[in-house]
């Protein structure tokens, strides 16, 4: 790799192997623990349950015993859109969410957000969550809160940050050691690390040395709602055609995987 390429901006992203994902929920739990995600007494209404990482269940709609299910972990897709105009970043009126050209990460500034929820309306992935309630930990359990991630107050929007604090931590360490570049394994998200099936791979999509660079080129790779032009940084891989087809909206005559908007 040339020095010039080394300096190229990073585009952190994921490749998730849906044929390996077992729907066990370890990624969700790891994410909640890592990011001080609050929890309520009843979380069975999934429309108001904060899960930065949410595992969706897909079904092929066929009759028993031809029925099939597939799980699809959905972190924030960190859309690049066209030139950094991701659906949410471009609509936030208070610049409380931003697209980093350095890392490709869509950030959320909790103390800036005033809770208009326009970004939630803009996100087709439902990756953004609103704090409808004050976050409350049962007595004594606030001891489990990590100082790396601030606790969010009521009335604001939050979402997956690709564990950005881990990137900062790794960069701090690298700087102390006089390095400007991170090795692939120095910055991994909590969900990636936790997945017992090894279904999630995380890295710099621009870096040919990283595993994601190669994995995303698989003919079975696809992105969610690619034809909307959201230009996401989370790729999915599945050998099953029906799963790949479920990743986007298709008209009846269209062939799976051949309609995506160009980026």
């Amino acid at each position: 790799m040339s020095a010039k390429e080394q300096k190229k901006a990073k585009r952190f992203g994921m490749v998730i192997d849906l044929d390996k994902c077992t729907g066990c929920g370890a990624c969700m739990v790891a994410c909640m623990a890592e990011n001080n995600v609050p929890f309520k007494k009843d979380e069975s209404n999934k429309l108001d349950s904060i899960t930065w990482m949410r595992v969706f269940k897909l079904t092929n709609g066929k009759e028993y015993p031809d029925a099939d299910v597939c799980y699809l972990p959905r972190p924030c897709q960190h859309c690049e859109g066209h030139d950094g105009h991701s659906p949410c970043v471009s609509v936030c009126p208070a610049t409380a969410t931003d697209y980093s050209r350095e890392t490709g990460i869509v950030s959320q500034i909790y103390t800036r957000c005033f809770g208009c929820r326009y970004c939630m309306a803009a996100c087709p992935y439902h990756a953004r969550y609103f704090n409808w309630w004050d976050p409350v930990w049962p007595k004594g359990m606030e001891k489990m809160l990590s100082p790396d991630v601030s606790v969010r107050m009521r009335g604001i929007v939050e979402k997956c940050s690709f564990c950005f604090h881990r990137y900062q931590r790794a960069m701090d360490k690298a700087h102390l050691e006089g390095r400007r570049e991170l090795a692939e394994n120095e910055y991994q998200t909590a969900c990636t690390q936790a997945c017992p099936a090894g279904a999630i791979t995380f890295g710099d999509l621009n870096n040919p040395g990283h595993a994601v660079y190669k994995l995303k080129q698989s003919p079975n790779a696809f992105r969610l709602l690619e034809r909307l032009g959201t230009n996401t940084k989370v790729y999915y891989v599945s050998e099953r055609e029906w799963v790949r087809r479920a990743g986007d909206n298709y008209l009846a005559h269209e062939k799976t995987g051949q309609v995506a908007a160009a980026h």
Binding site: L47, F56, L58, G81, S90, M120, A121, C123, G155
Partner: protein
């Protein structure tokens, strides 16, 4: 008891009767205020909104009142810039309605945001690429204009007008009102459009997304157009309503018919544009994103194609056709039907562009999300209505809103 405050030469109901009216409306208002305080103190968990319905009843109410309040800027535009001078006989009322609508819209926004105390961040940390920023700026500025337009009305109250400064101030504001009206129209063209842009730019939501020119999606123009078209109908409906309640003719028919005619042509042309937009969207835009028109109107318990018919045909084409014909305008029954249908039509449009946008699933494996508002949401939505009724009541009683009232209802 309050006769000294009542404009000269007009008759008003007794003070007692007025107080009964005020108390009843205030009770409703207080109910709304209670709900509003609940939302502020306990948070938005008081509503039935959720992560799929980040925008719900309030935002619809917001968009609807701004569209309906569009009568103010458009009448101002017609009177001061186009030179339709007859409209001076209804413009005060249009301004009052506009003032109510816009102050309500701002109040609703203040309840709707999760962190009202940080609401000013929208100005302070403005993202100029966001349609909402544009809405907030223009809305606030235009509200300022409406205040300026409303102040002289207040100052023309019999007692206040006795204060020389107030008298002069009201007079001077009137003198340069055209400048304010022009600024107001400019601002309105933008914020009405930006409100349309709010939904139109959502390229992640094929149901809402529209192509357009430069940074403005077609909905930008459609919203401005529709506000200008339907807003006067709301002014007319409320005029009719007030006439019915007061039992008096307040505005001459020629004025009403003029406004109805202009509105009618605006509605008619708007509807044609809307049909063209819908057609293009159904045939090109949505299929380009992999979705067919009927996918947006099937597979759920509420949204069917009926809502499109209600909006475009019943609430658009029909009132438009009635109002552009002389016969339709002259027929009292048809005129009333048309202006009411028009108000419904534009409200349904705003509903669709807010709530149906949230309801339609985008990811193929996602499901429709339906929602019904909580009582707190209903109460806070009724709050501005009660406030509007109250303000119209007080303004009508104590201010010279209708210049033709004395002439039409001479008292001995």
């Amino acid at each position: 008891m309050d006769s000294a405050l009542i404009p000269e030469g007009v008759k008003r109901c007794s003070f007692g009767k007025f107080m009964v009216f005020i108390s009843i409306v205030s009770a409703v208002l207080l109910w709304g205020v209670y709900a509003m305080l609940l939302c502020w103190l306990k948070g938005l968990n008081q509503t039935n909104m959720n992560d799929y319905y980040g925008f719900a009843l309030w935002i619809w109410a917001d968009l609807a009142v701004i569209a309906l309040g569009g009568g103010a800027f458009f009448s101002g535009f017609l009177k001061y810039l186009v030179g339709k001078d007859e409209l001076k006989n209804i413009i005060n009322y249009a301004v009052l309605i506009g003032f109510i609508c816009y102050s309500s819209a701002l109040l609703i926004l203040a309840i709707d945001i999760g962190q009202p105390l940080r609401g000013w961040f929208i100005f302070w940390h403005a993202n100029v690429h966001s349609m909402l920023t544009e809405v907030a700026f223009c809305l606030s500025c235009y509200f300022g204009v409406l205040c300026i337009e409303y102040i002289p009305l207040v100052l023309e109250n019999r007692q206040l007008n006795k204060v020389p400064f107030f008298h002069n101030f009201a007079h001077n504001l009137h003198e340069i009102m055209a400048v304010f009206a022009a600024t107001g129209a400019f601002l309105s063209f933008f914020h009405q459009g930006s409100l349309g842009g709010v939904a139109g730019v959502l390229f992640g939501r094929p149901f809402a997304y529209r192509e357009g020119v430069f940074v403005w999606p077609w909905t930008f123009f459609l919203f401005t157009w529709s506000a200008a078209a339907f807003g006067p109908c709301f002014t007319l409906s409320l005029t009719k309503l007030l006439e019915k309640i007061s039992g008096k003719k307040l505005v001459k028919d020629n004025v009403i018919e003029l406004l109805a005619k202009i509105s009618g042509w605006m509605i008619f042309t708007y509807t044609i544009a809307k049909i063209a937009d819908t057609y293009y969207w159904a045939v090109v835009t949505a299929p380009g994103k992999g979705q067919t028109l009927m996918e947006f109107y099937t597979g759920n318990a509420f949204y069917g194609i009926w809502i499109l018919v209600l909006e475009v045909i019943i609430g658009g084409l029909i009132p438009g056709l009635i109002l552009i014909t002389n016969k339709g305008r002259k027929n009292k029954y048809l005129l009333t039907t048309a202006i009411i249908l028009a108000c419904i039509g534009v409200s349904v449009n705003r509903w669709v562009m807010v709530l149906q946008v949230m309801a339609v699933p985008v990811m193929p494996f996602d499901t429709w999300a339906l929602y019904y508002p909580s009582w707190q949401e209903v109460a806070t939505t009724i709050l501005p209505v009660a406030y509007g009724v109250l303000l119209i009541g007080i303004s009508y009683r104590y201010m010279p809103i209708f210049p033709q009232e004395r002439e039409l209802n001479p008292i001995d």
